[in-house]
């Protein structure tokens, strides 16, 4: 039995309505409890901001394309190297660090749970292997269905139940967490070097449109009773004028679940542009934020862009090729048979580029114009908008108009005419930041039943103690202190143990992988469906028996079983 007593913490816990109360937190055996014995280890958190462990609901840290990002960029590896020290492995990398690098840096920032945003089912084993070398965070993986042939065929037949059955079988087979759609239909079109324009454009050879895929899977998701909703990377990413495509997509999403959203739209910054070309691109964050304000069924994350060097990587292969043609640095692409694709290119977001300045502003505008922080979560789509180590600066920008003005003064002068940010006064408070970085994620991902995202009795003892005294700081003026405070915790506690202290990792760590297994009737069991098996044998290059990820790949398994309506 391990016990921990955290004294005099200044707690913000939005789920339980606690807003800066000084209190003790008691932990026994990885859970928050109401009493501990006199033998509990004591941490004095006197007045320090204490939050539930951070949750990143959309990041790219493990898997085929992430690793290929490292593989193709020794220059990025050289940009962030640390030596082996004590129990810490050597690390490399800035925008795409090694698995240990990601894990240590997230932990130093107080993050205890992360969701890998895109896993190709055929290559799922790779993601799980890297998870096992990401010791300090619980992990889960969105599973890509954007170009899944079997799903598209079911959608074409208007058979939502069959689509659900295919998704259910695949998620259990690959130990995935949620349905991810990246440029639905577009990645299949990219198999021929093409793309789809927007949601009504048909997918070549499959006679379905992106919006039909999206809406069918939104319904399938609810038939399977999955904890999270469909996780969508909209069509037309990064294209001037795409805000209308995004809003049109949102318009088609029904409100199906009273507990959470029906659709999680990811890195919406990349999908909220006005104008008709790179010459007249402007922000239409207002349009998108309004659409979200009107629809409780939608939650989004910012996809904030920050200036500097990074790497973009996405299953949206055609988009990456187009970007490559603009930047002409280097380009990798990887299409996965019958399922999905991906692309990777390095980028530099410059203050001298009007387009980049607009992108930077759009993310912040989205967060500031969305009324409820539960509907706009903080993320950079790491590393696409920026590496996650920039989160503290984003918090600073959201809390301080003064900081935003200082930054605006450094931008390309042309940018100001195309954005709304200079006119926005809103400054977020500590509670809103706590929602946008943990409570909101836990709710959107459906992790509240696992005790994630809050600190009430029974909750998982994942928490972060920051050297920030909220009573003594005026975030609006002293944004530097806010940024410094969020950069590194005094203590990060995961599963009831201190895992990092002032940025130093103190245990080897042992993560859990959270995945879903919908229980499906025999009639809808794709494992026994002759048609499914026949096509599998014919068109995949691995045998169906070798496709599922074995239990051996998961160290500590948290399997969420659901009763599917199938």
């Amino acid at each position: 039995m391990t016990e921990l007593l955290i004294r005099n913490a200044c707690v913000i816990d939005p789920i339980n309505g606690i807003r800066g109360e000084t209190m003790d937190i008691l932990i026994r055996d990885a859970r928050i409890v109401e009493s501990v014995s006199g033998r509990a280890e004591v941490i004095d958190a006197a007045g320090c901001l204490t939050l539930p462990g951070g949750i990143d609901s959309h990041t790219h840290i493990c898997g085929t394309k992430v690793n290929f990002g490292r593989y193709m960029m020794p220059e990025d590896m050289r940009a962030g190297r640390t030596a082996r020290q004590g129990g810490m492995h050597a690390t490399s990398g800035y925008s795409v660090p090694t698995t240990f690098g990601n894990s240590y840096r997230y932990s130093a920032m107080g993050y205890t749970t992360v969701l890998e945003g895109a896993m190709a089912p055929l290559e799922a084993r790779h993601t799980h292997e890297e998870f096992s070398a990401t010791p300090l965070q619980d992990t889960m993986a969105n599973t890509l269905f954007d170009g899944n042939w079997a799903v598209m065929e079911a959608v074409k037949e208007n058979d939502v139940k069959r689509a659900a059955a295919i998704v259910g079988w695949t998620l259990s087979a690959v130990k995935g967490f949620a349905i991810k759609l990246t440029n639905p239909g577009g990645t299949e079109a990219w198999g021929w070097g093409k793309n789809v324009e927007c949601i009504h454009d048909p997918v070549p050879h499959f006679e379905v449109s992106p919006i039909e895929i999206v809406t069918a899977l939104v319904r399938a998701n609810e038939l399977l009773h999955l904890p999270h909703s469909v996780h969508l990377h909209c069509n037309r990413l990064g294209v001037p004028g795409n805000a209308w495509c995004t809003v049109d997509t949102f318009r088609h999403i029904p409100d199906l679940n009273p507990e959470r959203q029906s659709l999680y739209a990811t890195h919406v910054q990349f999908h909220a542009y006005g104008g008709s070309s790179w010459k007249d691109i402007c922000s239409r964050a207002d349009l998108v934020a309004r659409a979200v304000n009107d629809r409780p069924q939608i939650v989004m994350d910012m996809g904030q862009v920050m200036f500097g060097k990074t790497t973009t990587m996405t299953a949206d292969g055609p988009m990456e090729f187009n970007l490559y043609r603009l930047h002409h640095n280097k380009w990798s692409n990887h299409d996965v048979e019958l399922e999905t694709g991906s692309g990777i290119i390095p980028v530099y977001y410059s203050r001298k580029s009007t387009v980049n300045c607009v992108m930077w502003a759009v993310g912040l505008e989205l967060a500031l114009l969305t009324r409820s922080p539960w509907q706009c979560l903080l993320a950079t789509d790491n590393p696409n908008g920026a590496p996650f180590v920039k989160y503290p600066e984003i918090i600073g920008l959201l809390m301080s108009r003064k900081y935003r003005d200082a930054e605006l003064a450094t931008l390309h002068p042309e940018a100001e005419r195309r954005i709304a940010l200079p006119a926005i006064d809103r400054e977020l408070d500590w509670n809103e930041i706590a929602v946008m970085t943990r409570a909101g994620q836990a709710k959107a991902l459906g992790l509240l039943p696992l005790g994630k995202g809050h600190l009430g009795p029974g909750a998982a003892a994942d928490l972060a103690i920051y050297p920030v005294r909220i009573g003594e700081i005026d975030p609006s003026a002293e944004y530097r202190r806010v940024i410094e405070g969020f950069r590194q915790t005094l203590y990060t506690v995961k599963r009831g143990r201190v895992v990092s202290r002032e940025g130093r990792v103190v245990v080897e760590g042992d993560n859990s992988t959270i995945w879903v297994k919908p229980r499906i009737s025999e009639e809808y069991d794709m494992g026994r469906d002759p048609e499914f098996a026949k096509k599998f044998a014919r068109y995949y290059t691995v045998r169906m028996g070798n496709y599922p990820v074995q239990e051996a790949y998961i160290r500590r398994s948290i399997c969420i079983e659901t009763e599917a309506e199938l």
Binding site: G86, A90, S92, T98, F100, G193, K330, H334
Partner: protein, 432 residues
């Protein structure tokens, strides 16, 4: 005793990693292998493993226990100032991962057989990227296939029947007739015999031919002389046109391109040709990786250290500088003072100057079978064969990870277990 038939067994010989083998086991022995090519079948039926670890003392081999052998191996590595941990392409990812940790704690250098086969491809990829795909994309879509500097009929015997020329795909009902196969090589190989178009180039001429094709794809064929490295302009024009008008093209390349004059620049040029073709159609490129899990080493090493091969931990950080930190160079400079060889046979494959140094330093080998390197070893520890009596992860040449099967239990420990025990000893000795 009745025979047991194992289905969907994975062949752990070449980078095709065929996973449809049927292996019959009877009385603790493999009696038959179906679906494999000759190379694969041979691997499953080879005999002649060592029974126990052996150690050479004063020129005489004697048997050792595993415990004593591992103890001695750890001592050798601990005593060294600049140990080299080499090989890795014939074992599973789980063992490779322990190998990287060993190198890290020892402050040693870890390198794989990659550095003498597709290391150059990696250097090129690090400059310009890699437009690739899984093999099923090729099988289902590709109407144009190029094999450049490789001879799959001999080295990857089922490549054409499983993934390209002879297999039907979703969009290609009549595989052989629907696809155009182009082979580029310096001699008429068996693969060239079955190609629709054979481009015979003079040795060392790859770079020039690739450049000419690139120029033609860009519409600049008036610049091309009548022949380029022995290839007529007419033929180049024809081939460029075939590539440009393909629905989907796939270029595969082997050591005939990676290890000939021009080396990594050849690959860079090939990648840039493919990149250029993507402005007209869809085109991809795939290295024909040799050993079944050499690509797996690159993957594991990358997520752990940030680099795919040739990583030097002597500075505490991961340091990567092929040419300085690659095995051949290290050995040729007589720099390392001990070597751990896992799942490979450097004595048979590295240049003479490198091998000469191997003979002078203490060497520990982990391998199921004795091979040329054994002659140089102080200790050989026999281990299970991944895919036969041990399981674990392997990465196919296109990056698809597959779990290899264990179909026999012969009582040998697997690589991972032995390496893990070495790691424990070394950790203890170092006090962490």
């Amino acid at each position: 005793m009745f025979p047991t038939i194992h289905r969907d067994v994975v062949c752990t010989f070449c980078g095709c990693l065929c996973d449809d083998l049927e292996v019959t086991v009877e009385g603790g022995r493999i009696r038959g292998v179906d679906n494999a090519c000759e190379l694969g079948a041979h691997k499953f039926t080879t005999e002649g493993r060592l029974k126990a670890p052996i150690r050479r003392r004063g020129g005489v081999w004697g048997e050792e226990t595993y415990t004593a052998a591992i103890e001695r191996a750890a001592e050798i590595l601990l005593d060294a100032d600049r140990p080299l941990l080499y090989g890795w392409s014939g074992t599973c990812g789980e063992a490779q991962s322990v190998g990287v940790q060993l190198a890290e704690i020892l402050g040693g250098v870890i390198d794989a057989t990659t550095s003498v086969c597709h290391g150059t491809s990696i250097l090129a990829i690090q400059e310009v990227g890699h437009p690739g795909c899984t093999l099923g994309q090729v099988k289902n879509r590709a109407d144009v296939i190029l094999y450049w500097g490789c001879n799959p009929i001999e080295a990857h015997p089922r490549h054409m029947s499983r993934y390209t020329t002879y297999t039907d795909g979703f969009f290609l009902g009549n595989s052989h007739r629907d696809r155009t196969v182009i082979v580029v090589d310096i001699r008429r190989t068996d693969t060239a015999q079955v190609a629709d178009e054979f481009i015979k180039i003079k040795p060392g001429g790859d770079y020039a031919v690739l450049s000419a094709l690139r120029a033609m794809v860009r519409g600049k064929d008036d610049m091309i002389p009548p022949t380029v490295s022995g290839v007529s302009r007419q033929q180049l024009r024809r081939v460029a046109a075939i590539c440009k008008s393909a629905q989907y093209g796939a270029l595969f390349f082997g050591m005939g391109l990676t290890q000939t004059g021009g080396k990594y620049k050849n690959i860079r040029n090939a990648i840039e040709l493919v990149d250029e073709l993507n402005r007209h159609t869809k085109f991809t490129l795939t290295p024909m990786r040799g050993h079944f899990n050499v690509y797996g080493f690159n993957e594991v090493c990358t997520w752990m250290t940030g680099y795919p091969f040739a990583v030097d931990f002597s500075r505490g950080i991961a340091w990567y500088n092929p040419g300085e930190t690659s095995a051949v160079d290290l050995l040729a400079r007589r720099e390392c003072d001990a070597c751990l060889v896992v799942a490979s046979d450097p004595a048979a494959h590295l240049p003479r100057s490198a091998v000469a140094h191997l003979a002078d330093i203490p060497l520990v080998q982990l391998d199921p079978y004795p091979n040329a390197t054994t002659a140089f070893a102080e200790i050989q520890i026999p281990v299970a064969v991944t895919g036969i009596d041990a399981e674990g992860t392997a990465y196919r040449m296109d990056g698809v990870p597959i779990r290899t099967r264990k179909i026999l239990d012969l009582g040998y420990p697997d690589d991972r277990t032995v390496l893990q025990q070495m790691l424990e000893r070394i950790r203890e000795a170092k006090g962490r």
